[in-house]
């Protein structure tokens, strides 16, 4: 069955123009090389936000690259957002989100750090999540220098970045050193078991299909997805205890491959006493926001920024 008739007409043209990924371990390097200039070349709005590249030393001794966005004028100690880009755990760079994040930093008057975590399959779990943790530690440890209020640090990610954000919230809770005030999970990729479950008949036709999901998880886990011993810091849906997680926003499209795991995670968070906001946008497959001017994309962006404002008491 095709789900084309269910897709919001305003996002359909952009989805149909988007090339299918269908990466393999062999094609991945060339694919990254081809995408890199596109991802890094997106025009950034001309706003009074200072952008710099920083390198954070990790406990393992390597450097974690990150993009730091700081409004030129800050009003006292401001909240901070740790951002984690998407790309199925195997592709992507922080620069692809810098245009949107620059506008967010400006509108909200907050500091944003977007982390260039190590990608699979070269660096399987837990390399990526540990890089995100290093970035979180940096924000906390340098809060005073950065002008950041350490009690208002949130994490946000899209797709695989949402998966890392959800796992980071679990890891930060469990290690107990660096609290998070909020987690914003945008169509998060949080459950490797989706690869092994019967397919939802209406999800996963566009942009990100079950084969892409299987490849991404296989690379991250360096094992067949759906196995018995997957860490919740790799696949957050594997966590059995969700108590004590920060307030959460989950937003996803009704036709997104991750719909089932996102709804389930939201439900479990609510049952665990976590403050949860959930939005499901009709007619939207994974990655619909590439149709950036579509009303639903604008709506989703406004919902995200409104949730950040509330969570950060802005």
């Amino acid at each position: 069955m095709t789900t084309r008739h269910l897709v919001d007409p305003a996002v359909l043209p952009a989805l149909e123009a988007f090339p299918s990924l269908r990466a393999t371990r062999e094609t991945l390097p060339a694919m990254r090389a081809a995408m890199d200039p596109l991802l890094k070349g997106a025009p950034v709005p001309d706003l009074p936000v200072e952008t710099s590249e920083i390198h954070i030393p990790s406990p393992e001794g390597h450097q974690v690259r990150a993009i730091l966005l700081r409004p030129e004028v800050l009003d006292g100690a401001v909240p901070a957002l740790l951002h984690i880009h998407g790309g199925a755990y195997i592709i992507g760079v922080p620069e692809m989100s810098v245009p949107e994040l620059t506008a967010t930093a400006h509108q909200l008057g907050i500091v944003i750090l977007s982390v260039d975590y190590r990608l699979a399959p070269e660096h399987p779990f837990p390399a990526g999540i540990e890089d995100c943790y290093t970035a979180l530690a940096y924000l906390h440890d340098n809060a005073a220098t950065l002008g950041v209020d350490a009690s208002r640090i949130a994490v946000m990610g899209e797709s695989a970045g949402g998966g890392l954000a959800a796992s980071l919230a679990l890891l930060a809770r469990d290690r107990g050193a660096y609290p998070l005030a909020f987690q914003l999970l945008d169509a998060p990729m949080i459950d490797d078991r989706t690869c092994a479950r019967p397919r939802n008949p209406v999800t996963g036709e566009f942009i990100f299909a079950p084969a892409d999901n299987h490849f991404g998880w296989s690379c991250l886990l360096d094992a067949e997805p759906g196995g018995p011993d997957v860490s919740p810091y790799a696949a957050a849906a594997r966590a059995t205890q969700l108590e004590g997680l920060p307030p959460t926003l989950i937003a996803t499209g009704a036709l997104d491959l991750f719909l089932d795991e996102n709804v389930d995670y939201a439900m479990r968070l609510i049952s665990a006493g976590v403050a949860v906001e959930l939005h499901i946008y009709p007619g939207c497959p994974h990655g619909y926001v590439i149709a950036a001017d579509a009303p639903v994309s604008q709506r989703a962006l406004a919902d995200k920024r409104a949730a950040l404002r509330r969570a950060m008491a802005l």
């Binding site: 926003l249 009704a254 036709l255 709804v263 609510i270 049952s271 665990a272 906001e277 939005h279 709506r299």
Partner: protein
């Protein structure tokens, strides 16, 4: 355990002013008797919308069903329409409870609104109320020309028990195949009688305003027997429907602390899997009935979402 710490601070005055209703055979007549004066005490907005009563044939002998009709003074021809069902646990309530909100919708959307004064339980058991709503749907379709409305743009809408009636009516209209519904707009709908009897209730829902005990009382009143049995009709408890395909596009909104949040998520998820275009919003820190705090930020936001979804459904 209390869930007060999860409540949006803007809603604390509401829950402090409004302890959960304790419904019983003894308290129900008193609550019903007090309601009209409470409703009258709320001033209506000054908007160019005319409100009046219409009497709609029930289809049974000469019994008529009263409805409140709202019509924008400058309504365009061939306007969309909303068939609205009020809340109140199926045991109390009246269309006038929502007159202010419905005036705003009629004004903002330029649409006709009909809100049904359906028969209440326990005096009238299932399916009395939903048949009254069906009669109102029939009337809207049959009188569409005279009313100046577009039969292809009729939405059903309701909150709480009214949401159950709206969802049940969408199922009934689909199955009878006589009168089309373009959109179902469900606010904190009560969809599943099994919630009232669940052995593993969600520990973070149903503490404020509307409790599991109230819900249980109302299901018995409506069904005339214990809820959660094997044979509850999907027209009473829409979550009982096994096939959701072919239902109209759907909007569901509910608070994260609402007794009905689980069944709303589940119903939305099943609708999506059945190929029904579905929009869902779960508002953090919000309990059942949070819309009563009309000037609070969460309520204002939910109202904006309501109007945006209806506007979209009507292609306005």
């Amino acid at each position: 355990m209390t869930t007060r710490h999860l409540v949006d601070p803007a809603l604390l005055p509401l829950i402090d002013a409004m302890p959960p209703m304790v419904l019983s055979d003894a308290s129900l007549p008193m609550i019903r008797a007090a309601l009209p004066a409470m409703v009258k005490a709320v001033p209506l907005p000054d908007l160019p919308v005319t409100i009046g009563d219409v009497m709609v044939p029930s289809g049974e002998a000469d019994r008529m069903v009263r409805c409140m009709m709202l019509r924008p003074d400058a309504m365009a021809d061939n306007a969309p329409a909303i068939l609205h069902m009020h809340g109140g646990g199926h045991v109390l309530g009246m269309p006038e409870m929502n007159a202010g909100t419905l005036m705003q919708w009629a004004d903002a959307l330029g649409c006709l609104i009909l809100s049904v004064d359906y028969r209440l339980s326990p005096e009238t058991r299932f399916p009395g109320a939903i048949e009254d709503c069906y009669a109102a749907l029939r009337w809207l379709h049959e009188e569409a020309g005279a009313l100046g409305i577009d039969r292809t743009h009729i939405a059903v809408s309701g909150e709480s028990a009214g949401g159950a009636l709206a969802a049940g009516l969408a199922l009934l209209a689909r199955d009878r195949g006589e009168y089309a519904i373009a959109f179902q707009h469900l606010e904190q709908p009560r969809l599943d009688d099994r919630t009232a009897t669940s052995a593993t209730p969600n520990p973070h829902t149903g503490e404020f305003v509307w409790t599991r005990a109230s819900s249980h009382f109302c299901w018995i009143a409506q069904l005339g027997k214990e809820p959660g049995g094997d044979d509850t009709s999907p027209y009473a408890a829409p979550a009982r429907a096994t096939d959701l395909s072919g239902l109209p596009s759907t909007f569901i909104a509910v608070g994260a602390l609402d007794l009905f949040v689980d069944e709303c998520l589940e119903y939305a998820h099943r609708l999506i899997r059945a190929g029904v275009p579905t929009e869902l919003h779960v508002y953090p820190g919000c309990m059942h009935g949070f819309g009563m705090a009309r000037d609070s930020a969460p309520a204002q936001r939910a109202q904006a979402d309501n109007i945006a979804a209806l506007r979209n459904a009507f292609s306005l």
